[in-house]
């Protein structure tokens, strides 16, 4: 067992355990914290795949900004425990085994189909090459994303503002 394989197995176990915990927890805030552990484990895997910049962006943007937004909304809405789902007998005895079968089958087929692939070295450093690509070949999409984020900010503001005579207020009056 090489050191890389050991680190991979540890991080993969953390990621899968966190993902299972996202599904099994009934409090949304616990699911959110489980999802943060998954994202941090994935950032470690990105480091293992020698993409340092994406690992940093994963921590800063995903585990930082996006999950803070989630936690903020959960606390703002005071979201309590999920209501107990009274699963039908069909869902319990057919749906759950089929879901687990889907997982195993998907992982096995994807893994088996790509077993011959091995890691190729990147010519010049990954972060340097990435910045070259981002600001030369992909500069137009890169600038477009700034407009996309501006539109998203405006959309979020318009959606979440409480205007005079909004349906909720009329219902309360």
């Amino acid at each position: 067992m090489t050191p890389q394989l050991v680190i991979f197995l540890i991080l993969a176990a953390i990621a899968v355990a966190g993902a299972v915990s996202v599904i099994l927890q009934r409090e949304p805030i616990h699911s959110a914290i489980s999802l943060i552990t998954v994202m941090i484990a994935l950032a470690g895997l990105f480091l293992l795949l020698e993409s340092e910049f994406i690992a940093a962006v994963q921590i800063i943007v995903y585990a930082g900004a996006i999950m803070v937004l989630f936690v903020f909304v959960i606390m703002l809405l005071n979201a309590g425990a999920e209501e107990r789902t009274n699963m039908s007998r069909m869902a319990r005895y057919v749906g759950v085994p089929l879901a687990i079968f889907l997982l195993i089958e998907l992982a096995y087929q994807v893994g088996a189909a790509t077993l011959s692939m091995t890691a190729q070295p990147v010519a010049d450093g990954a972060t340097r090459g990435l910045s070259m690509l981002l600001f030369q070949d992909f500069v137009f999409p890169f600038e477009l994303t700034s407009i996309l984020i501006l539109i998203a900010i405006l959309g979020a503001l318009v959606l979440a503002q409480r205007s005079e005579g909004a349906p909720a207020q009329r219902a309360q009056q």
Binding site: S31, Y62, A107, L130
Partner: protein, 99 residues
């Protein structure tokens, strides 16, 4: 070590995201399952970029993360509006369009 380990892990995480999307009732947790699927796809992109020795996959992941940030902002605003109008986060209660 072979790249297929990473791809198998990515498939497992994506499948868990799908299962969470289908089984969960809370709209915020469903939204978190979508983020989990996006993360799984990012891992597949990075793994393939490494397997091919190219960086375009990493650029794609960068854009996926940016779009996910915008999506989270708008999506959570929609969740706030739904919670305000329906007084509930349970998707079973959000059935106004149901026949």
């Amino acid at each position: 070590m072979p790249i297929s380990y990473y791809l198998a892990l990515s498939a497992v995480l994506f499948g868990l995201g799908v299962i969470g999307f289908v089984f969960k009732r809370n709209i915020i947790t469903i939204f978190m399952s979508i983020e989990l699927m996006l993360n799984a796809v990012n891992l597949a992109f990075i793994a393939f970029a490494r397997a091919l020795g190219q960086l375009q996959g990493q650029v794609f992941v960068f854009f996926v993360i940016v779009v996910a940030a915008a999506e989270a902002a708008v999506g959570l605003a929609i969740v706030i509006v739904i919670a305000r109008n329906r007084q509930s986060l349970n998707v079973e209660r959000i059935n106004l369009l149901k026949l």
